[in-house]
Amino acid sequence: MGSDVTNFSRDRVYVDQDADDLALIARCKAGETAAFEGLVVRYQRVLFTVAVRMLGNVDAASDAAQNAFIKAYQKLETFDPNRRFFSWIYRILVNECLNARRDHIVHEPLTPALASVDGPDEAFEAAERRGRVQAAILALPLEYREVIVLRHYAGLSYEEIGDALHVPAKTVKSRLHTAKERLAAMLRGLEGGHV
């Protein structure tokens, strides 16, 4: 099965791995710390987004994403250039997120930016809806949460998700299907959802 075209309306936040990443990594390994900034700038949005969706807390997500970058830098010598940088640093980020949850980071309702809507009632409903969706994502077991987050907020294909999670693409697809079923059950009735 080839890579699927993304079916969501938002821009992909994930930037495809290219030779620039390898060049930046090589410069870092040669001692040019400043070159790492290029990787941070390139991947900060996707890593932060993934962390926010995984943790449901902006401060905890910021800490986890920062820690992931720091640890990635410290472990650059172990990076396999045959892999994608995002797949590699994602595993580091997941560990940071798991550590944060283990340390009982309190889930506070997110307050996402309100969409431009017609009036205050609509804005409030939109915010409440997003909060429930985030809560539903957090309620998923990790293996299902990961695939939802990587598919919808990192814009990865089944193969790319499989590479990040070390599972076959067909397993990714199966988990996505199950994850959506569970989300549908939790979010049934939200905004006139189907029964």
Binding site: S9, T33, V52, Q66, V133, L187
Partner: protein
Amino acid sequence: MFDNDSDHVERLLDELGPAEPPAGFTAGVMARLAQTPASAHGRVVSFNGKGITMIRKVMWGLAAAATIAFAVFAMKGFPPVGNGTEGTIGAAKKYQTQQLADKDVVLGDAAVQEFLQSDAFDRLLKDPNARRLIADARVDAALRSTELRSAIGNADIRVAFANADFLQAYSRAELRQALASAELRSAFDAEFQAALAAGMRSEAAMRQATGDAALRSEAAATALRNAVQNAGVRQSVGDAALHMAVSDASFAAVLANMSLRSAVENAAIAQAMANDGFRAALTQPNMIAAFNSPAFLAAMQHSGFASALQSQQLHNLVSQ
């Protein structure tokens, strides 16, 4: 799950959308990197034949005391270098010991801190190739030249000398003589400008403009054209020290090493690089480890700083 349920979930997930990292996120990461060790792993250090594991922070704590003195010595001059260091610079060197008066020592001196915390210095410390180059006597001699350091710091000169064909052409005395001639440079510029205005980039146009039949390569022509348009390059072609360096592979090695180049571009580091003891210290692993110590930053603020500097025990440690 019905298709409409799946679509419903997709729409809700899409509505949540990506999240923007907080302002200053990148700067925060880079700032933490500046104070973070390359690895948190410990290593085994053998004492008296017995293998003893010593975590890095303990090692750094020991080295931090020597680093305090080193930071000041780098600015004020170094004490005599002891046994074991002469070989690193190819020849024995002796230095004058300078008495440090209290008034010469400034706790937490901002200039010293800025120098030691600069990214260029950090890169230099972490680059083993750069440190090996510094230990090379020829490179060592080149780096002591103010004119050469200035040339290395000039971006246009670096670009020109990075081109092998240009280097080959430049090595020819008659070309350098021509470029060094004020009258020829003036005429040269006019012809070059005319050629550029006409969009002529061929080697024939270049040969006609320079009268140099040896320029065969389009790349060399482009590099030479760009170089002679730069006042810094034109001035430097008459510089004997630069000429000697260009003839030496060591110069190319310095230009090719980004860490060294960046260090030379930094005024404070370039000044320190003129110091024999500083360059010798950069080749010593224990000093490198010390400079990577977070404890050093805290030690710089310690009230016992001045007393530690005058400690004979510390001098002995630095001289080892």
